[in-house]
């Protein structure tokens, strides 16, 4: 097994023992990126030089016997949505193409404090809106298992880089499934923690009541390690939870006894691919063989989850993205042609004596906003801003936004009732395996429905994890999703580890990438 195929936990052991240096490890990943990323396209920017400098610094301090952080010398990729003052934060958008954050997000600051080596920034759907990474303004990311297919999204680069051994760990964000879905489609582990478990300070906001940062990894042990590094209360984020962070990496290997697993009746309905269903049911049998009891539960309002989500998330997005005004930061339209265009329109209206048109004509400031935003945002971001603005506009607020907030509570209450009977809920991550690039770009609603099994955890604020549980006949990964009550990450990880220990799905590697 080559170095880049070993787990992060194993690499840390070797680094601590002095078997390898951080520079060697970082170089091994940079070489791997060189060899395969021209095919996969996971990284927007590889920060090779900076990474090697950080690695050399760790090696020097280790040699001198100085104290080192928990992840000292370990390369980590970060989704290009978390502010890092050392690089750009583009959100894969023309709007932020040259945005250089003046401060570090809390997650990035914690990674730096842990002496992780920040190896590069990964591709994503623009502003994390999408489920295929096709909405990136800059490049396509391909699924390492089949380069004709998408890696999922929005954390598509984050999942693909781990699946193709270009980073041992990566950071993603999950607003409606954006960590779990690409992890599932790429055959790796991806976890969305409880809302508030990880600080959102310095995370470029999409839908603030749903966004959560989390780890993507090869193994549950590695995911546990990264989660415990980034989790915790942050006074800079008033929604972060003031709760002690357990040492997940220490407890993850302990099996749970008397585990009660719930299967959601509504998850196994029309639309679920037969191969996916078979793999998930097989995974449940593995749990039974490990002593778990399985019980059917019902989440009667889960069928409304996607509709609820596609009101709440766009409403919050339209409000959050109002900040991109071409004034404070981000793209601004070229003023001269903008002013000329406006003058020409005014002249035309005056010549026609169109008083109503003249009254409606944009002021220079409004036109500057409108042109800057229209040039800076891609089609999906515009679509969601329009959807949110529509749903929040006068006369529609009660019918859409307020209604969705009420259904959101019913969805949460369903989970509360289910978790009265079972410890964890198991089911598919997605109804299908990875879809082809371009397959759904013309059908936004079909694309939204891919989020069917993942959005509920965001609406309810629950932790969820995706782990590999099989492959389709075509050789595409299938993901198992486990969900837990709020703050039950520890049992979620332990349960995931039980499955991982009894199976070898996490050890499979894409075969057609260069060795």
């Amino acid at each position: 097994m080559s170095l880049v195929e070993t787990s992060a936990t194993e690499q840390l052991k070797r680094l601590a023992k002095g078997d390898i240096t951080a520079v060697e490890l970082t170089q091994a990943y940079l070489d791997r990126i060189d060899a395969v990323d021209s095919k996969v396209g996971a990284f927007l920017r590889v920060e090779g030089e900076a990474a090697l400098t950080q690695a050399a610094d760790v090696d020097t301090r280790r040699k001198a016997g100085k104290p080192l952080g928990k992840l000292a010398g370990l390369p980590i990729a970060v989704k290009d949505v978390l502010c890092d003052r050392a690089t750009l934060t583009t959100c894969a958008s023309r709007m932020l193409e040259s945005f250089h954050a003046p401060y570090d997000s809390t997650v990035v600051a914690k990674l730096k404090a842990a002496d992780a080596v920040l190896i590069g920034r990964t591709n994503m759907d623009e502003f994390a809106m999408g489920g295929s990474t096709e909405n990136s303004a800059f490049q396509v990311t391909r699924n390492p298992w089949d380069l004709e297919r998408t890696p999922g999204g929005s954390s598509g680069g984050a999942a693909a880089c781990v699946a193709a051994d270009m980073a041992p760990l990566s950071i993603g964000t999950d607003t409606g499934g954006s960590i779990r879905q690409p992890a599932g489609l790429c055959g790796i582990v991806g976890m969305k923690p409880t809302y508030g478990r990880v600080s959102r300070y310095g995370l470029v906001a999409f839908a603030s009541s749903l966004d959560q940062v989390g780890p993507l990894a090869r193994t549950t042990q590695d995911a546990a390690l990264l989660l415990e590094t980034i989790a915790g209360h942050d006074p800079q984020d008033s929604t972060s939870l003031d709760k002690v962070v357990p040492e997940y990496s220490k407890t993850v290997t302990k099996p749970l006894t008397g585990l009660r697993l719930g299967l959601v009746r509504e998850h196994f309905a029309e639309g679920l691919d037969a191969e996916v269903e078979a793999a998930v049911r097989e995974a449940v049998k593995v749990y039974e063989s490990l002593g778990a009891t399985v019980k059917e539960v019902s989440l009667p309002n889960s069928k409304y989850a996607v509709a609820t989500y596609y009101v709440i998330a766009p409403c919050e997005a339209s409000s959050n993205l109002a900040r991109y005004d071409g004034v404070h930061y981000g793209h601004r339209t070229d003023e001269k042609p903008m002013l000329a265009e406006l003058a020409a329109e005014r002249k035309e209206l005056e010549a026609a004596g169109n008083q109503a048109g003249l009254r409606r004509l944009d002021s220079t400031l409004v036109r500057m906003y409108r042109k800057s935003r229209s040039e800076g945002f891609g089609p999906e971001v515009k679509r969601r801003i329009m959807l949110g603005t529509y749903a929040l506009s006068a006369g529609y607020y009660d019918a859409y936004y307020l209604k969705a907030l009420k259904v959101r509570r019913l969805i949460r209450q369903d989970f509360d009732a289910a978790f009265g009977q079972v410890d964890l809920i198991a089911g598919p991550v997605t109804a299908q395996t990875a879809f082809k690039i371009g397959e759904m770009v013309d059908d936004p609603l079909a694309m939204y429905l891919v989020d069917l099994y993942t959005v509920s955890a965001n609406l309810a604020g629950l932790p969820g994890i995706s782990l590999p549980c099989g492959f389709s006949k075509a050789g595409l990964p299938i993901g198992l999703q486990l969900m837990a009550p709020p703050l039950a990450e520890e049992s979620l990880l332990r349960a995931a580890h039980m499955f991982e220990s009894a199976t070898d799905w996490h050890t499979h590697r894409p075969t057609h990438l260069p060795k």
């Binding site: 945005f99 250089h100 003046p102 401060y103 809302y195 009541s209 008033s238 929604t239 939870l241 409304y304 996607v306 509709a307 609820t308 596609y310 009101v311 339209s318 109002a322 005004d325 004034v327 930061y329 981000g330 601004r332 003023e335 002013l339 944009d362 002021s363 220079t364 400031l365 036109r367 500057m368 906003y369 409108r370 935003r373 229209s374 945002f377 515009k382 679509r383 801003i385 329009m386 959807l387 603005t389 529509y390 749903a391 506009s393 529609y396 307020l402 969705a404 907030l405 009420k406 259904v407 509570r409 949460r412 936004p444 609603l445 939204y448 965001n458 609406l459 604020g461 629950l462 709020p486």
Partner: protein, 95 residues
């Protein structure tokens, strides 16, 4: 609820987006299809249900009333498309 093209155009102004004719046509259709799907929420009985705006319903998180350093002006202006070292510059607002 029907979504007219004229209303989509009005929403584009509210959203501070400038959309071309083709974009407005396309969006009117797409929004109609998405809203058509979302309209199923109307069938849910939510009588007496409190809206849930946040997953963690914390209220009144207080911070100590202490002065902390904030972003320096130079840093705050560093990404501005136009500035004069003291503030942000915008196109003429009056006239």
């Amino acid at each position: 609820m029907a979504i007219t093209r004229a209303y989509v155009e009005k929403v584009s102004l509210l959203a501070r987006l400038q959309l071309g004719e083709a974009e407005l046509d396309r969006l009117a259709g797409e929004l109609a299809s998405i809203i058509g799907y979302v309209d199923q929420l109307a069938e849910v009985d939510t009588e007496g249900v409190e809206p849930m705006a946040h997953a963690v319903e914390v209220h009144n998180v207080f911070a100590a009333d202490e002065v902390h350093p904030s972003l320096a002006r130079e840093a705050a202006l560093s990404n501005a498309p136009r500035h004069n070292d003291r503030g942000y510059l915008v196109p003429p607002v009056l006239g």
